[in-house]
Amino acid sequence: MSKVLDRHLIFRHRDIENIQNIDTYIKDDGYSALKKALKEMKPVDVTNEVKSAGLRGRGGAGFPAGVKWSFIPKDIFPKYVVVNADESEPGTFKDREIMEKNPHLLLEGIALCAYAVGASASYIYGRGEFLSTFRPLQQAIDDAYKHGFLGENILGSGFSLDIRLHLGAGAYICGEETALLNSLEGLMGQPRNRPPFPAVAGLYAKPTVINNVETLSGVPYIILNGIDAYRKYGTDRSPGTKIFSLSGRVNRPGNYELPLGTPLRHLVEECGGGVIDGKQVKGILPSGAASSIMGGDKLDTHLDYESMVEAGSMLGSGSVIILDETINGVWAAKKNIDFFRHESCGKCSPCREGTHWLKSVYTKIVDGHGTKQDVDMLGTIIGQMEGNCFCPLGEFVVPGVRTSLGLYMDEYLEMVAGNEEASQPQKDLIHTFF
C-alpha cells in the first residue's frame, strides 16, 4: 500500500479480505451510509453533502457529481440512475476491480444516488467483455435484495430501488453517455444531440443521472464520514482519492488508490517500482489513448484535475500509460490511432474520415514509405478534425497526435528521411481509400 494513504476509501478489499461477501461488508460499516441517509437525511441533504465534499466525476470529464444530481427535475417520473461501467479506454482497468472485488460499495453508492434524485430504477451498463465481471456483481445484487438493501421499501423507509445489469457488445463509443443510453434502449450506440441533456431527457426520454462506477463508489464514505473527513484527502479543488490504473513500461503495473494531488513520480516510482530495467521515462499518457502526451520531464506534476491541465494534459480517467526510452514515439501514436480508427462509430465525417486518413498516413510512415509531406499531413488532418467532431471520441484523437508530433518530431523525421516526396501528392493514399 502506498505510504500516503493509511486506509483505502474505495479499494477496501485491499485492507479487508472477502469484502465482496455481504456479511464482511456490513461488518466494515457497509450499508451504514445508506441506513444513515434513509433515517436521518432528506434526499436533498445527500445531494448537498456530495456537492460540498467536492466529489468529481471519475470517468474522465471531472464534472462535480452533486451538481449533476441537482439538475434532475423534481416533478418528472420515473427517473433513472445509469451506471457507466463501459470501461474501454485503453489503459483503464479500475472499474472492473471495484465490481469484482468490492461490489457492494458500488451498489450502496447507487442506492444513495437514487435516493438523492428520487429514482427507483437503475441500470449498470457494462461492456460486453465484462460477462465474467458481472457474475460477482449479480451475486452481490441478489444478496443485497435478500438483506433488504434493495427492492421494495428499503429498510422500512418507503424508498424502493431495483438495480439491473445490462451488457453492451463491444463498442468503445458506448462510454459516451448519450451513446450508452441509445445502446441501452436497443439502438446502435451512436451519440445523441444535446440538448436535451440526459438530466432532463435521458433513458426512455426520462430524467437520468449517468455516473461512472468509481464516482458512485466514492459516495458512501462521504455520507457516512462527512465532508471534512473526505476533504482530508486530496486538494482543495480536487478533494478525495482517485484510482490510477498504471500500465506500460513500469515494473509493477496495477491499480493504485491515491489522494488527488499526489505527484506523478510517486505513482511511477513508489507504486509502480520505477521503469523496467531502470530506463528513463520518455512519455506519459495520463488518461489513456485520449491523452495529451507529457514528456518524461513532467514527472513532478501533481495528479489532480487542475495541475494536470496546467501541465498541458488532463487527469481524465486516471489511466497512466508509461513509455520509456526503448519505445518509438511514432509507433506508440500509431497504435492509438489504430484503436480510434477501429472504434469510430461512423456517425460524423470528421471522425470517420479523419481516423481513416490518420491510420493510412501513420501506417505508411511506420512501414518506412512516408515522406516529410506525410508528417505535415498528420497535422493538417487533426486540424480539420478539431472542433468539428460530433462527440468527444473524435476530439480525443487530436491531442495525442499533436503532442506526439511536438515531442517526437525527431523520430518522425528520422523515419521519413531519404524518402522522395510523391510527385503526385498522396496518390498512393487515395488508392487505399477507394
Partner: protein, 169 residues
C-alpha cells in the same frame, strides 16, 4: 425457433425493462441466440426481431455496429488476445504472433483446421496490468506465458470445460 429454455431466459431478460421498451433487450437476446451456433444466422435474427417487435433490418444494423456479434461461423472458442498499446508495451504483439504461429494459422489470426479455435487480436479488454492477456469466449486469462497458454489450449482440446480451465488462471 426459441427453445423452451431460451424462452424462459428471454422472459427473465424482458422483466428488466419497461413493458413498452422491449427493444432494450436486443443485445441480451442476441447473446442468447448466438449461443446456438456461436454465430448468428438469418433465422436467429428473425427470432429476435419477432420476439421484440422490431424489424429484421434494425437487428441487422445493431449486429453490424457491435463487435461481439458475428454473422460468420467461427471456431468453438474465440481466443481474443489484446494487442492494444498498454499491452503491446509489454510484448503482447509478439506474444500474439507467436501464438498464431504455434496454432498454425499464419501470424495474423484465423481459425484452426479443426474449427476449434478462432484467434484474433483485439483492443483493450481492461486487463492492461496483466499483459499478455486474452479472453476465451469472454473468460479472462491474464499474465500468461507461452507455456501457460499452450496448456490452456491443450486442455480445451482435450475437452475440458472452459469454466474449469478458466478457474485456474
Amino acid at each position: 425457433m426459441w427453445s423452451e429454455k431460451e424462452r424462459q431466459e428471454l422472459d427473465k431478460i424482458l422483466e428488466k425493462y419497461p413493458p413498452d421498451r422491449k427493444m432494450s433487450a436486443v443485445l441480451p437476446a442476441l447473446y442468447v441466440v448466438q449461443r446456438r451456433k456461436n454465430y448468428l444466422t438469418d433465422d436467429d435474427i428473425k427470432d429476435v426481431a419477432e420476439a421484440l417487435d422490431v424489424t429484421v433490418t434494425h437487428v441487422h444494423s445493431v449486429i453490424g455496429f457491435y463487435t461481439l456479434f458475428r454473422k460468420e461461423p467461427t471456431g468453438k472458442y474465440m481466443v481474443q488476445v489484446c494487442t492494444d498499446l498498454p499491452c503491446a508495451l509489454r510484448g503482447a504483439e509478439d506474444f500474439y504472433h507467436r501464438l498464431c504461429e504455434r496454432m498454425e494459422i499464419g501470424s495474423h489470426g484465423g481459425t484452426t483446421d479443426d474449427d476449434l479455435f478462432t484467434v484474433e487480436g483485439v483492443v483493450c479488454i481492461a486487463a492492461c496490468d496483466k499483459a499478455p492477456c486474452m479472453q476465451i469466449n469472454l473468460e479472462f486469462f491474464e499474465s500468461l506465458t507461452d507455456d501457460q497458454i499452450d496448456e490452456v489450449i491443450k486442455r480445451l482440446r482435450q475437452g475440458e470445460s472452459l469454466t474449469a480451465v478458466a478457474a485456474n488462471y
